[in-house]
Each structure stands twice: as structure tokens, then as C-alpha cells.
Amino acid sequence: MKKSMGWKVGLILAVVVFSVWMFYPPKDKINLGLDLKGGMHLILEVQTDEAIRIQTDQSIEQLKSSLKEDGIKFEKVKRVGVNKIEIIGTSFDDERTVKDILEDDFRDWRITYSSNRIIMALRPNIEMKMRDQSVDQALQTIRNRVDEFGVAEPVIQKEGLSGDRLLVQLPGVDDPARVKSLIKSTAMLEWKHVVAGSFPSKEDALKKYGGNLPDDLVILKEKGSKSCYVLRAASVVTGKDLKTARSSVDEYGAPAIGFSLNSRGARKFEKYTSKNIGQRCAIILDNRVLLAPSISAVISSDGIITGRYTSDEVNDMVLMLRSGALPAPMKYLEERTIGPSLGADSIRKGLYACITGLILVLIFMLVFYKGAGINSNVALILNIIILMGILSYFKATLTLPGIAGVILTIGMAVDANVLIFERIKEDIRFGKSPKSAIESGFKKAFLTIFDANLTTIIAAIFLYQFGTGPIKGFSVTLIIGIVASMFTAVFVSRVIFDLIYGKRKKLKKISI
């Protein structure tokens, strides 16, 4: 008897000490959710359709040049939908070679031939892979950006069943507009040759070409204004040729973006600038012209981009350029910003409600069950300690609904004790001795407690599985609370009874 009591008490002490050690001091150890510490919660959808479209457009360019190289005549190559290419008007004589080219270089496409047109459709498995890749790449890019921005403990992960959604949680960020544009910018950097401009509006630019722009030219707006440039569609170099970007200053000491191209880019740029001195070359970010300086000297690898930027703007742009371009544009589906004061207020109130609820329950149990009430109160307090300990151990996040879960656990945790005590009372009423009543009370109540709690856990697990943010936090605390209550109400309470009454040989009455 004594020996077995020893390890039981030891185990309880060990669990308690471990729990306290895990969550003390709570300020550092307990992971607070966004709703408690403030921050941003974003759900983005990667426009994978757009990624496929970009891919298809690139293939069209490649196709055109392949056909031209082999001297095959065609009327038109155009994109149908996002994932189909139609080649119209290849002459029939050439069919043999067309087939050769297509089947060698375009294995990702399923090709069907008809009298004067060829239709190429992206194979479904390849398309799926491309979509997945674009989401993965977007995730990585956002992670890079957030890391460089310096947010502590961000959450960036895929979300939902459709596979194209990303969840981004940034605790403590209180400048939502800046962060949002930072995350969402595609950050496609391009250098394009300026053909004409600038014009006060798009219409004016079009007028110059009689309202009909040649295929190889594009009109792009200048960032932050309505004026437009006419540019050559093909880029001189793009962000892919970028080695690095950094914050820098121009000759007047104003913030500017410094960049270096990799060797491939440098070669292309050197060749281009040496041929075009005196002409202008536009630097374009996400289809907006940042600036269009004239080329004064041959530039190979290094340069700076100037403008009237603040140092924050420069830092953000550098960050985006360094983290790479997004493979496809993104769309915000959900955005929640919680200010730090609201979070602090919620913690204060939640804590207050917790303590009030706890005290009420403690008093109630003490009045109702007297001596045994003290027992269950000890068990309840241990329950909360263990709950906090496990929460910290699993690095689970405490949210406001999570606090509600803790409060509810306080109310429900005593249920196991109530079940046991009522059984004991009942057995005493039937004339059993207190000692055997305790024995049988615990035994009979255990199965009930087990069944009842397990069903609640099943419900909570499904809540966790399907729930998002706040619901998850709630179900986690509920599950942990229930498991802890099984330990404290059944095991700890029993040990306490044994410690108090176990040594007495004759036990006539117990306080319950």
C-alpha cells in the first residue's frame, strides 16, 4: 500500500513540476494567437489559371520561332482558353516537318491535326503539375519576403482542399497596407526598349499608330500617373537575369535601388546598351514603368534605379526583387487585421472571466461537497496547470476561443469528480462503509467518465479537422482539458482520498 502510494505521489508531483516548468513564465512560453497579440491573417488564392496562361504564351513564342527557323509558313498561332494553342494555316506540304517539330519539342502537349489547323492542348497531368508548382513557388516566394521583412513566428502554409490557397499569419504587424502590397506584388521586373513616349494618355499613344498597335509593341502606364510609353514587347532583360538587388543612393544621396545582373543578363544588357546609346530603356515593375532613362554609356552588370522613393519604399522593392517574382498573380480572399490594443483587451477580459469562473466553481464545490470539495478543487487546479503545461509543450496556440475552451473545461472538469462523489454518496446511502464506497464509487464512475469524455473528444477532433483558426484553438484546449481532467479527477483525486483516509483503520464518516 505505502509503496504503491509512493510512486503515485511521485508521478503526480513529476507531472505538475514538468507542467509548471513548461509554461513558466507564461508570458514567454505560451504561444498567443493573432486575436490575442494582434496581427494580420490573410488567405490568398494563387491564380493558377494565370500561371498556365503565362506558360502557354511562352510556348507560343517558342513555337513561332521554331516554325520560323525551319521555314514553315503559318497564318496565325493563337491561344485558346488558357491551355490550348491553335496553329492556323500551315500548308499541307509541310505537315511532315511540322509534326517532327511539334512531337520533338512539345511533348507536354497533346496534338490533334485537322485539315488546315493544328490544335495543341496541354496534357492534364502536366497542367496539374504546373499548377501545383506555381502554388509551391508562390508559397516559397512569400516566405522569403516575410522572412526578409522580419516578422517573428509567421505562419505560411497551404490551406483548404482546393490546393491553391495560402494562409499567411503575421503576428504583431501593425502596418497592414504595406505588408499586403509587399506580399501580393508579382514583382516582375523587366527592361524594355522605349519606342516612343511619353504620352499623356493611352489614346494619344494609340493615335500615333492610327489606332492599331503593331504586334510587337506594347503600351504601358507609368507608375503613379496616367502617362504612357510605347515599348517593344520583347524584354531586353528580366528579373530572371537579376543576380541581386540592394538599397543604394543616387548621386544626390536620395534612396535608390541598386541591382546587379548575372553573367547572362550582363552580356545581353551590354550588347543592347552598346547598340542603343542615346536611346531610352524603360525599367518596368509589374507592368508599370518605373522610369525611362536614356542610355548614356554601355552598361553591363550593375546599375541603379532612381526615383522619388522613400527609404521604406526602396527597402520593400529591394526585398521583393531579391525574393523573386511570383509565378502568378494572387488574390486576397480573406483579410483580418487585429490591432494590438484589442488583443491586449481580450487577454485581460479572458483572464478575468477565467479567474471569476474558477473561483465560482471552487466555492460551489467546497460548499456542496465540503471535505471532498477540497479534494476536487485541488484536482481542478492541477488540471489547469497541466492544461497550460501541455499547451506549451505542443506549442499550441492560445486564442480567444481557446480561453473560452479553458473556461468551459473548468466547468466540465469537475464533472468527473461529481460523478464519482455522487456514486460514493449513493453507496454510503445504501449502507456501504465509507472505505468501500470510495473504492466502488471510483470503479463504477470510471467507465461512465471514460465513455462520456471520449465522445466529447471525438466531437472536438472533428472540430479541429475541419475548423479554421479560432475553432482549432478552441478544440485543442478542449481536448487537452478533457484528457487532463481524466488524470486529475480519476487518478489524483483517488490518491488524495487514499492519502487522507488510507491510514485509518476505522473510518466511520467522510466529509462529502
Binding site: D35, E50, G160, D174, D175, D312, Y332, L333, E334, E335, R336, T337, I338, G339, P340, S341, L342, A344, D345, K349, A353, T356, G357, L360, V361, P401, I403, A404, I407, L408, I410, G411, M412, V414, D415, V418, L419, E422, K425, E426, R429, L447, T448, D451, A452, N453, L454, T455, T456, I458, A459, F462, L463, F466, G467, T468, G469, P470, I471, F474
Partner: protein, 396 residues
């Protein structure tokens, strides 16, 4: 202490038809409410913008509506939070149908499908609340401490000539000062209490002002997420019910699982009816509350079923009604005590937990009462129903 001097002997089963009628009436009334007015969907499910805004000076719903009317949001829902503080929830909703239409119109133009419009709404409302005087100050290059982030205040102090260290320390302190009930700093007197460097204080006094309001939180949910969450919530409920059903059928007999699941449906329908009656806004947390109650009520039911199972073995000769009555009576003290302690904590949550989980705790209170009622008056009655119609020789 005891609630009953000796074991109580209420005839619960005798009242079962009364209970069926009562619950039936509530559910029918709920169904009528559903067809006539439907659920009040929160932005979690309908999509839209929800802003919590806090004002320094007294204002009321009517004043806010006047301001919102000017920018075309006069129909927004405005709800005061708490009594003392000037905090309000403002909800601008765009119905899902409307959204679908506009999406259809803009098909292929990605920018227009974006949250962009909603974001603009938040910005428009923000700028509408800025007073003429404040607008002039902003134009004059001053910044609004109550609406500036910590980062912004720090950078501002540095550009005005404060040392980096001072700026860092001061902006942190100012940010902490804002972490009060209202999220606002009331006057420069409060700022002076922070004992900032004199130099910083002069910069603040000359170049900043304390705006009249701040946005405590801004939530923007796109329509796609809303419909997604709806199906998720339904899925979660379905699987949770199935899981519990299987467990009970496994641990007890099928008849218990049947009665338990009917009771669960009863609970869900009655709670939903009350949600409809009180026009409670459906949000994710409300769904969480409902599912919690389902778990709670089931917990209660199982305790009684457990007793029934025991008593069936002990009282072989007795009629099913009296076995069930006995079981409910034997567990009655426990049912009352547990409901009582849980109610105590939930009441604490309701009164002290703050606005954000007010509805959550309200539903828990109502739900605990419903769950307790249903485990006493419904669950066992359904055992009897099954027994009467499907079981010939053996009892339950």
C-alpha cells in the same frame, strides 16, 4: 450538501409526450422563422467587411450613420459595443448573389474579382471619420498618433531629429499606452506621464495630434471563403455526429446510438431555432459553440444511458419506463451539479469575457440549458420509442 433528501422519484417518462410537443413546437417555429427571415449570416459566411472602431469622444449610432450615408454606406449595420466606451461594430455586407453577378460581369479581369473593392470600403470609411480639423493637420504634415503604427511613429521621430534610441523607446512606450480598453490615447497629459525625453515630447507636441478614433480591427472576407466555410461547417458537424454514433453503437447497443443521435439532432435544431428567434449572427465561433454543445449534451446523455444499461441488468422484472425513470432520478443530482458548474463558468464568460465572445457565451448558456433538458426529457424517451416499435422480446 444534498439537493434531494432521499433519492428523487420524478416520473420523467410520464412527461415525454409533453416534451415531444414542446420541442416539436420550438422546431416548427424555428422552421417558420427560417423560411420567413432566414439566418443572419455574419461576414464569415456571407463575405463582407467588419470594422471595430473606437472613438475618443461620445458619439452614437445615428451620428455614425449620418457620416456613412455621405459615402453611400447608410445601410450598414452599426452596433454599439459595451456601454461606457464609444466602440462600434460596423458591418458592410455585400450579398453573395450580388457578388456572383459582378464576378460574372468581370470574368477574366482578375483585378475586379479581388478583395480590392472591400479594401476600398474600409479605407473610405476611415477617411470619412476624419474631421475637417484633423484633415488640415494631416495636410500640414502632422501625423495622427492614434492611427499611426509603432513603426511609423518611430520613423517619424527620427526624421524630425530624435535619436534612433529615443525614437525606438518612445514609440514602444506610446504603443503600450494604446493597449487600453479604447485603443486610444486621450490627451497629451497621458503622453506626458510616460516621461519621454523632453526633445521627443516637443516633437510630438509640435508635429502630431491625437486623432478622435482608431480601427481596433478590420476583417474582410471574400465571398468564396464564405461559401467554403459553410460547407466546411456542415462537413464538420456531419462527421462529428457520425463518429459519435459509431462510438456509442460500439460501446452500447444500437438502440442507444439511435436515441443519442436523435437527441443530438434535437439539440442542434432547437439551438438553431433559438439562434433564429434571437437573430444571433451566424459566425464561425457560433458554429464552434453549437458543436461544443453537441459534445456537452452527449456527455450528459451518456451518463444517463450508462445508468440505464446498469439498471437493465439489475432490474430485470421492471418495466422499461420505471428502469429509465429510476436511472434519470439516480443521476439527477449529478446532472444538476454539472450543469450548474458549467453554467457558472459560462456566465462568467458572458459577463466578463468581453464583446468578442459575447455571442459565443450566450449560445453556450442557452445550449447548456437545452442540453440538460434534452438529456433528461428527450434521450431516454427515444429509447422507449425504439423499444416500443422495434424490440419484441428483449428489452433494451
Amino acid at each position: 450538501m444534498r439537493i434531494f433528501k432521499k433519492e428523487p422519484d420524478f416520473n420523467f417518462m410520464g412527461k415525454r409526450f409533453l416534451a415531444f410537443t414542446l420541442s416539436g413546437l420550438i422546431i416548427v417555429a424555428g422552421a417558420i422563422a427560417l423560411t420567413t427571415k432566414g439566418f443572419n449570416l455574419g461576414i464569415d459566411f456571407s463575405g463582407g467587411t467588419l470594422i471595430e472602431v473606437s472613438f475618443k469622444n461620445y458619439t452614437n449610432e445615428n451620428n455614425l450613420r449620418k457620416v456613412l450615408k455621405k459615402i453611400g454606406f447608410g445601410k450598414s449595420e452599426i452596433q454599439r459595443v459595451g456601454r461606457k466606451e464609444n466602440k462600434f461594430f460596423i458591418k458592410t455586407i455585400k450579398s453573395i448573389e450580388e457578388e456572383n453577378k459582378s464576378q460574372h460581369k468581370f470574368e477574366g479581369v482578375i483585378e475586379n474579382q479581388d478583395l480590392g473593392e472591400h479594401e476600398k470600403v474600409a479605407e473610405m470609411i476611415k477617411s470619412a471619420f476624419i474631421s475637417e480639423k484633423e484633415r488640415a493637420s494631416l495636410k500640414g504634415g502632422k501625423i495622427d498618433i492614434n492611427n499611426a503604427s509603432e513603426n511609423k511613429i518611430r520613423n517619424f521621430l527620427i526624421t524630425k531629429g530624435a535619436s534612433e534610441e529615443d525614437a525606438m523607446e518612445s514609440s514602444l512606450k506610446i504603443n503600450d499606452l494604446k493597449k487600453n480598453e479604447t485603443g486610444l490615447i486621450n490627451s497629451f497629459k497621458d503622453l506626458e506621464k510616460l516621461k519621454l525625453r523632453r526633445r521627443v515630447m516637443t516633437i510630438l507636441k509640435d508635429n502630431t495630434f491625437l486623432g478622435n478614433f482608431t480601427f481596433l480591427s478590420t476583417e474582410i472576407v471574400g465571398p468564396k471563403v464564405g461559401s467554403d466555410l459553410r460547407s466546411k461547417a456542415i462537413l464538420a458537424t456531419f462527421w462529428a455526429l457520425l463518429g459519435m454514433l459509431i462510438y456509442i453503437a460500439f460501446r452500447f447497443k444500437f438502440v442507444y446510438a439511435f436515441a443519442a443521435v436523435i437527441t443530438l439532432f434535437h439539440d442542434i435544431l432547437v439551438i438553431l431555432s433559438f439562434i433564429l428567434f434571437f437573430n444571433v449572427e451566424m459566425s464561425l465561433t457560433v458554429v464552434a459553440a453549437i458543436l461544443t454543445l453537441v459534445g456537452y449534451s452527449l456527455n450528459d446523455t451518456i451518463v444517463i444511458f450508462d445508468r440505464v444499461r446498469d439498471n437493465v441488468k439489475l432490474m430485470r422484472r421492471e418495466k422499461v419506463e420505471s428502469i429509465i425513470n429510476r436511472s434519470i432520478n439516480q443521476t439527477l443530482t449529478r446532472t444538476i451539479v454539472t450543469s450548474g458548474t458549467t453554467l457558472l463558468t459560462v456566465l462568467a464568460l458572458f459577463f466578463f469575457g468581453g464583446e468578442v465572445i459575447h455571442t459565443f457565451s450566450l449560445i453556450l448558456i442557452v445550449g447548456i440549458l437545452i442540453g440538460t433538458y434534452s438529456s433528461i426529457f428527450q434521450s431516454c424517451a427515444w429509447l422507449k420509442v425504439w423499444e416500443k416499435h422495434f424490440i419484441r422480446r428483449k428489452k433494451i
